[in-house]
């Protein structure tokens, strides 16, 4: 078993915590590096699960659950070596053992091989302070879905304690560029778990790929591919792998985004001379032109109600974010601070924006309260781009550079929690965080 070290700041101290990490072949993302969390973190203990013979043990469930909670920045999981006891059932729990360590919440569990080959994962969550059982559940999964079960447990624990739906059992798509500038240059669209594990390739090309995005039911992805020698918009079914070029007009075909109901695709075409926003009805493939302006109009994204689009336009001389109401085509400018604001996404509440913001020549991810026009810069690195929100709106993933290499990074919406997903395989970029997925029943 391969042990890697993570540095997680806990109560102002840097403690080294060992987590077991399983390698899934030639993974395109390395292990997460946690850079920052909240000053005051909830102290939780996730005790190694008891397991019956026949349960795969190369990927301990408790470690995956604890690491999910740790990378949320809100939890400080207790290191295994510091546990005074290792209960796996309700009867074995002595609250005193945990109270003395200052632990507020406790997770214990067992995984048992069933007659049919399924594994029953039983787990319990305790409130140590009030000596109360908060939750108990059993997940029946095949061995191949043990990781998914761990992420579901982390989601549930997160929600029971914070009141916010967890987004650990989600997926990421991103572009991996290898051997850039050489004859062997290649681009691939990759899909991984939200922690970067289990990465697999959805499509590979010698030509650039960009602007990957999820359908709201997470069964399809759309992206821009240069496979014909020019930018085209492609739809790809994740389960079957079947692909379809949906637009290949002269000029730019790019920036696809699915409507919240999944029936329409907003995209950018320059077939009429310069980049304009269009909406395609995915049933009959008809196109409706939304913007009419001689400037660059690009990077559309839907409002949560599906009634409007936000987009980037340089109609005022430099790129700023605008909103267009689809019923009336009325356009309203949303950003006013700074001379470069682009590629915006709305939070699930529809009242806050995140976007790429240039400040003193450096590109950061910024957050804006639309009602109070309050702008906050969330990232301190440079060349930050492509922000994509977790479906619960608590974190966003973006692309940045680290010593000249493209890496992915995650920041909480208040800028306090930070972690990185580097890649030893090449440059990674253009991340898109999936919607909520029922990973125990769906194969995505």
């Amino acid at each position: 078993m391969l042990f890697e070290r993570f540095r997680i700041p806990v109560l102002g101290l840097l403690l080294s915590i060992s987590w077991s990490v399983c390698s899934w072949g030639a993974a395109s993302l390395d292990t997460i590096i946690i850079d920052a969390g909240y000053d005051k973190q909830t102290r939780i203990a996730v005790v190694p699960f008891g397991s019956s013979p026949g349960v795969p043990e190369d990927d301990p469930l408790a470690d995956i659950v604890a690491f999910d909670l740790a990378r949320s920045g809100q939890f400080a999981p207790l290191e295994r070596d510091n546990m005074l006891s290792m209960p796996t059932t309700r009867r074995e729990v002595f609250f005193r053992d945990w109270r003395i360590l200052g632990i507020e919440y406790l997770v214990v569990g067992t995984s048992t091989l069933q007659a049919g080959g399924q594994i029953a994962v039983n787990y319990l969550l305790f409130d140590v302070v009030n000596e109360r059982e908060m939750h108990v559940d059993t997940l029946n999964v095949p061995g191949s879905k043990l990781r998914d079960a761990a992420h579901v447990i982390a989601d549930t624990v997160f929600e029971k304690i914070t009141g916010i739906r967890g987004a650990f059992s989600t997926r990421l798509i991103y572009v991996l560029a290898k051997d850039q500038g050489t004859r062997d240059e290649s681009f691939s669209l990759e899909l991984s778990d939200s922690d970067g594990e289990r990465a697999r390739t959805l499509f590979t090309s010698k030509q650039p790929l960009m602007s990957a995005t999820w359908s709201p039911d997470a069964t399809q992805v759309a992206y821009v591919s240069f496979e014909t020698g020019r930018p085209t918009v492609v739809l790809q079914n994740i389960a079957t792998g079947s692909r379809e070029i949906v637009t290949q007009f002269a000029g730019i075909n790019s920036a696809p985004v699915f409507s919240p109901d999944g029936r329409q695709l907003a995209l950018v075409l320059s077939r009429d001379g310069n980049p304009e926003i269009y909406v395609m009805n995915l049933l009959d493939r008809t196109l409706r032109r939304i913007t009419r302006h001689h400037s660059i109009d690009t990077e559309p994204s839907w409002t949560p109600d599906g009634g409007s689009l936000i987009f980037t336009s340089d109609r005022a001389g430099q790129p700023q974010i605008y909103l267009v109401e689809l019923k009336t085509n009325l356009v309203e400018r949303l950003t006013f601070q700074g001379s470069y604001n682009a590629r915006a996404r709305l939070l699930p509440d529809g009242k806050h924006l995140v976007y790429v913001h240039r400040r003193e020549g450096i590109f950061h991810i910024a957050w804006q309260d639309l009602e109070r026009d309050d702008v906050r810069v969330l990232t301190q690195s440079s060349l930050d781009e492509s922000p994509s929100l977790a479906p619960n709106g608590t974190m966003l993933i973006y692309a940045t550079q680290d010593r000249g290499k493209g890496i992915l990074a995650v920041v909480s919406i208040d800028g306090r929690v930070k972690y990185r997903l580097p890649s030893s395989s090449g440059d990674v970029r253009e991340p898109a965080w999936s919607p909520f997925i029922d990973t125990l029943t769906k194969n995505i």
Binding site: Q180, G181, P208, M210, S211, F226, G229, R230, P231, G251, I252, S254, A255, V268, S270, N274, P275, I296, T298, E299, T312, D314, Q318, P319, Y340, A342, R343, V356, R358, F363, S382, L383, E385, S386, Q401, G404, E430
Partner: protein
């Protein structure tokens, strides 16, 4: 003799154009025999063209007629701008002349950006840069059918690195002769 042959070829070509018009295929099908003779004249040439050195090198790239050296095919832009630099206009004027006099040749104009800014916005900016070259060529009399544009945004950098010199080499439009 040569004059007569030219007439025959022109007649064949006209027939070919009419036929191509009927078939309404949008592709550039080889409807004429691949003739190395000059085909740009619409009326019989007053005299046979003199033996001129080729306008292109062995790779098919254009040569500067006065110096016989490769003509620059890459034009650079200022940050976030898509305006051609005055220093490039004389080279572009020669490109326009070569394209006008070699109607069998066409160019793909690639627009590129440096890595700063968002990828989609840069895709649009790259198109503007390619369009700036296109507009110049068209206003210099090059038929639109000889020009194609494609933007790669920041996806195909020429120089790696995040320095001002790398960025300035990446903000470019490139002419690819076909």
């Amino acid at each position: 003799m040569l004059k007569q042959r030219l007439r025959v070829i022109l007649a064949l070509m006209l027939a070919g154009v009419v036929l191509a018009g009927c078939s309404s295929s949008g592709k550039d099908e080889p409807v004429t025999p691949p003739a190395p003779e000059p085909v740009q004249e619409t009326t019989p040439a007053p005299k046979p063209p003199p033996e001129q050195p080729s306008d292109f090198d062995s790779q098919g790239n254009p040569l500067d007629p006065s110096t016989r050296r490769p003509l620059s095919r890459t034009f650079y832009f200022d940050y976030d701008r898509s305006v051609l630099k005055p220093a490039d206009l004389s080279a572009l004027e020669i490109h326009a002349r070569l394209l006008r006099s070699n109607s069998d040749r066409s160019v793909v104009l690639e627009g590129h950006c440096d890595e700063r800014g968002t990828r989609e916005y840069n895709l649009a900016l790259g198109e503007r840069r390619a369009d700036a070259v296109r507009s110049f060529l068209i206003s210099s009399g090059v038929p639109a059918r000889q020009i194609e544009t494609v933007s790669y945004g920041e996806e195909r950098s020429q120089s790696p690195g995040s320095t001002e010199s790398a960025w300035s080499r990446n903000r470019r439009a490139v002419m690819i002769y076909r």
